[in-house]
């Protein structure tokens, strides 16, 4: 499903005449199977989020190969990346990244609007999904009227609505209390088991990593699988 080979990336800092190169990813290799939950753990600044951004196409790695569903994405243009993300990825962010001016329902509906799905079909699909993830009661609420857990559920709903094969989650429980964290992790597990969705979870929390089938540790840009 996801095949990453020899991916390296360096950040350049400082002025042009005194530029410093800081390696953030060094010869990263990762193979993720379909329906797998993979956790990438590591300290802040270890490069785990950079790897996720590289997979998503937010960042272009200097060298290497990233194949997703058999497609090499390293040389995609920005337009191609956007189209690929829309159809293949769902995103769950630490701080939810919901649109403040849209209701929970409208936030979940957003990717379908981008896909050009007709209004009637959108309404049906969002309604059905909201029932499945227990958000029916807050459908008309705006993000600032929701609890952290509810906001993250909406965020997960938004990532699921287009039925993507892969969900990339960057610290999905980072802003939640421990009780809500458990709820969200249980939801991820359920979705993986029920729908066979592949998850790549970035976290610094070992407990969160426990939901994963396999766990990788990122340290100074070097990725290693843990037993």
């Amino acid at each position: 499903m996801i095949e990453i080979k020899h991916v390296s990336h360096t950040f350049k800092i400082g002025k042009k005449d005194n530029e410093q190169e800081i390696p953030v990813l060094t010869d990263v290799a990762l193979h993720v199977h379909k329906g797998e939950v993979v956790a990438i753990v590591g300290k802040s600044g270890s490069g785990k989020s950079t790897l996720l951004q590289t997979i998503a196409g937010f960042l272009h790695a200097d060298v290497g190969s990233i194949q997703i569903n058999g497609q090499e994405t390293m040389h995609f243009t920005e337009e191609q990346h956007a189209a690929f993300r829309l159809d293949n990825f769902g995103f769950v962010f630490q701080n939810f990244q919901l649109m403040p001016g849209l209701t929970a329902f409208e936030n979940i509906e957003l990717p379908l609007i981008l896909q050009g799905v007709p209004s009637n079909e959108r309404k049906q699909r969002v309604q059905k999904l909201m029932e499945q993830i227990g958000l029916t009661e807050v459908a008309k609420h705006y993000p600032n009227e929701l609890s952290g857990g509810q906001q993250q559920r909406v965020s997960i709903g938004r990532s699921l609505i287009t039925n993507p094969p892969i969900i990339l989650a960057d610290e999905p429980t980072g802003s939640l209390d421990s009780e809500t964290e458990q709820e969200i992790l249980a939801l991820i597990k359920d979705l993986n088991e029920a729908l066979g969705i592949t998850f790549i979870i970035i976290t610094h929390d070992d407990e969160v990593a426990n939901v994963a089938h396999r766990r990788f540790r990122m340290h100074d840009g070097i990725l290693k699988e843990e037993a």
Partner: protein, 431 residues
């Protein structure tokens, strides 16, 4: 993304910043309305001038100046397509005074071949055309112009004592009876040292039509060219004292310019008032272009508002744009959404500006003549069809193109900026 959803998306953002968008639309409206109203003055004055020229029957005439024109020349011209008649107009350059009993009038004179003249003029106001050298047609105001000493004094007194805003009624003066059938005495007097005078009597047989303009007073005498030998017998004919010009009468106005060009190409000295109109139109073309240019500056100033509004919108929505890009919105779509927003401001501003301009134009055309009349004490502005502002559809198209185009250009840079927003940086922004 469906177009319907794109519209809904833009509408939602506009609703969120109602006041800011309203002020920007207002600026765009004022800018565009200024352009339209300013240019409409150019169109208005041009229309007024063209109407003035076209109202005159001279538009179907071509003047032909050639004292030595031969009969062959005239025949050649007469044979051209669309030529109705070639009228020879002879004028005697002497002081001409016509008198009837104790009344007299200082006047002008014209001599025509009456057959040609009748063919061109058609029906007279009253009476018939002269059949011999002793008959004459008089101008519409000729009888009114025949004054005696008593009436001249009365008019002088009336003119001195006229109250502000009132006018002297000239119609009660002059010869009040039927001028047709009266025998008038006409004196041709040489202003030179010799001071020769020829006095002849003529019978008035007809009265010409009322002149085209209210302010024109026609007291002229129109003789048959059969009367010319009588004049030439007394005065030695020179180019200075008896001159002739030919007037080519054309069937329709649109045939004047092609015929004029042809005659010029053939080497004739010809002139038409339409040539002047061409020059006037060329002048107004440049004048209107200048006004549109000045108006465009106002539109450009208003575009700064659009640029600011759109830049603010992009800056405020950086995180939202980042989220949209992250979940799969293409840069092209983001650019289109912002361009649609600036286009909306431009289109709404233009539509309102067009409506406002028409309202201003109507008000100006109603009130300006009244204001000018009050200021100058002249009723010319209210009596004549004076048009100050005209908004033709072409002006609306030009102004709309400039206004919407400028709005789109103003929105283009912020829209490009939106597409360049870095997803990672945008997602790091706080709510």
């Amino acid at each position: 993304m469906l177009f319907k959803d794109q519209i809904a998306f833009v509408r939602q953002h506009i609703r969120k910043n109602k006041m800011r968008v309203f002020m920007t639309v207002l600026a765009a409206t004022i800018g565009c309305a200024f352009l339209i109203v300013l240019a409409s003055v150019g169109f208005g004055i041009q229309q007024t001038m063209n109407n003035e020229i076209l109202q005159d029957e001279q538009v179907t005439r071509i003047q032909f100046y050639d004292q030595n024109a031969t009969t062959e020349d005239l025949d050649k011209i007469k044979q051209q397509d669309h030529v109705k008649a070639v009228l020879k107009h002879t004028t005697v350059h002497y002081d001409v005074t016509a008198s009837l009993k104790d009344r007299d009038v200082y006047t002008t004179n014209s001599f025509y071949d009456m057959k040609d003249y009748q063919a061109v003029k058609g029906k007279l106001f009253a009476g018939t055309y002269p059949k011999n050298d002793k008959e004459v047609i008089v101008g519409y105001h000729f009888a009114q112009g025949l004054l005696n000493e008593k009436e001249r004094n009365a008019i002088s007194d009336a003119e001195l004592n006229v109250k502000e805003g009132e006018q002297v009624d000239y119609s009660k003066y002059g010869y009040q009876g039927d001028i047709i059938g009266q025998t008038i005495s006409v004196a041709f007097k040489d202003q030179g040292e010799e001071g020769q005078t020829l006095t002849e009597t003529f019978k008035v047989v007809g009265v010409t039509d009322k002149p085209s303009y209210d302010w024109q007073r026609d007291t002229s005498l129109i003789f048959s060219d059969q009367a010319l030998p009588m004049i030439e017998k007394t005065f030695t004919k020179t180019e200075d004292n008896i001159s002739a010009e030919y007037v080519i009468h054309v069937d329709h106005m649109e045939n004047v310019m092609p015929l004029l060009k042809k005659l010029k190409d053939d080497g004739y000295h010809v002139y038409s008032v339409l040539e002047q109109m061409d020059q006037i139109n060329m002048f107004f073309f440049v004048f209107k272009a200048g006004l549109i240019f000045v108006g465009t500056i106002a539109v450009l100033i208003s575009s700064i508002g659009i640029f600011n509004t759109m830049t603010m919108a992009v800056t405020e929505r950086t995180r939202e744009i980042g989220v949209l890009k992250a979940i799969g919105a293409s840069p092209k779509l983001i650019q289109r959404l912002f361009l649609m927003e600036s286009a909306f401001i431009g289109i709404l501003g233009t539509v309102l500006a067009v409506i406002l301009s028409y309202i201003i134009s109507i008000i100006v055309n109603i009130t300006m003549p009244l204001i000018l009349q009050a200021a100058t004490n002249e009723d010319t502005f209210t009596k004549q069809a004076f048009v100050f502002s005209v908004i033709p559809w072409q002006l609306v198209v030009i102004a709309a193109t400039i206004s919407i185009g400028v709005a789109m250009i103003s929105g283009w840079r912020p829209a490009r900026k939106a597409t360049k927003i870095d997803v990672i940086q945008a997602l790091r922004q706080e709510l």
